[in-house]
């Protein structure tokens, strides 16, 4: 069902554009042209954040943090097995999907742990990555409360996820 949403939207868009007498080919080219400079602009920011995340993971700090913090997360209803996932999620998208895959294979796709992990990933975003990329083209140096608020939301989302999986 969901596979039809994008194609149908595209057909609607192209027909609408035709109706409005837009040259779809020329316009698409014009837009696509902007992709390369944009990627070149954001590459250094992505590389910088990924270097830091790689070091964190290789050094074993994330595992250590996960072990120390797991009592706190347990209090919030998040099982110990998922603490590393919750900690890593704000930093890396590909890394947390790899971790989710490990969880799925280790505990079985339909177990409580796995379902929690899926909902946690589904309701959160890679906060640090999003923030770096979004402010990369602005002059902003001070983000004030943006990151704390986003992180609180992520932890809250993980709690809700674990709770919902228990009752549903």
């Amino acid at each position: 069902m969901s596979a039809y949403i994008i194609p149908i939207l595209f057909i609607a868009l192209f027909c609408y554009a035709k109706h409005k007498k837009v040259n779809t080919y020329d316009t698409f080219v014009k837009g696509a042209k902007k992709a390369v400079p944009l990627v070149i602009d954001i590459f250094p920011y992505i590389a910088t954040i990924m270097v830091a995340v790689a070091l964190l993971r290789v050094s074993g700090i994330t595992t250590l943090l996960a072990n120390t913090l797991s009592p706190v997360f347990n209090l919030l209803g998040i099982p110990t097995e998922l603490v590393e996932l919750v900690l890593l999620r704000p930093f890396t998208g590909s890394g947390s999907y790899a971790l989710l895959n490990d969880v799925l294979l280790e505990y079985g796709a339909d177990s409580y742990i796995s379902r929690c992990a899926c909902v946690i990933l589904g309701c959160s975003e890679t906060i640090f990555y999003v923030t770096t990329v979004y402010i990369s083209q602005t002059k902003v140096k001070k983000l004030l409360y943006a990151i704390p608020v986003a992180l609180i939301c992520a932890v809250f989302g993980s709690c809700i996820a674990c709770l919902l999986c228990k009752i549903m």
Partner: protein, 191 residues
């Protein structure tokens, strides 16, 4: 960001000095390589979506979408610039469809327009970051795919809890940003 990055890098390197110093440089270069591969993938995604976006804009659909979302955007961002509103409207729509990568170029454009050059994030910018960081996702397609390949009997039964959780985080994010805005205003007034 500078402080966070500094702590992450220095902390990890100190740790690695203990365990395995040879890993430091190699893992950094590996990560930069990964970033490069990711950027090539992103380039493909952006090319398609920026092409589509251009059509959306030129055909006038962008304005229509912005008009439809105008009351909501006005309430959340308190801005008065139709062009920025259009970008935010497109960014939010793409996010809801679960197209985080397609939302990024529009988000960057909106951020550029919201920037006042003072070096401090404006309330509207923070709202946009938090909205994207807690993004409402109606279709967690990657997760469902992974579940299916891991042999789940009903891979899509997480959709409903995900939607509830995503709405909760988004609502919390919006209210916290609004609350912090008020707190910061008060502090600014005292000064």
């Amino acid at each position: 960001m500078n402080t966070i990055w500094f702590i992450m890098i220095v902390g990890s390197i100190c740790f690695l000095l203990w365990s395995d110093p040879s890993l430091v440089l190699s893992s950094m270069i590996d990560a930069a390589g990964e970033a490069f591969t990711l950027c090539i993938e992103l380039c493909a995604v952006y090319a398609v979506w920026l092409g589509i976006l251009e059509i959306v804009e030129v055909s006038g659909l962008g304005q229509k979408l912005a008009k439809a979302l105008h009351p909501l955007i006005k309430k959340l961002f308190k801005i008065d610039d139709p062009e920025t509103e259009k970008m935010i409207a497109l960014n939010m729509s793409a996010n809801m469809l679960g197209l985080g990568n397609a939302a990024t170029p529009m988000g960057i454009k909106a951020m550029k327009r919201l920037d006042d050059g003072s070096g401090v994030a404006t309330p509207a910018m923070i709202m946009l970051i938090v909205l994207n960081a807690t993004s409402i996702q109606l279709l967690p397609s990657t997760v469902i795919g992974l579940r299916a390949s891991a042999g789940s009997t009903s891979p899509s039964d997480i959709i409903f809890p995900t939607i509830i959780a995503t709405f909760c985080t988004c609502a919390l994010g919006i209210s916290l940003v609004k609350l912090c805005q008020k707190l910061f205003k008060k502090r600014g007034a005292k000064k």
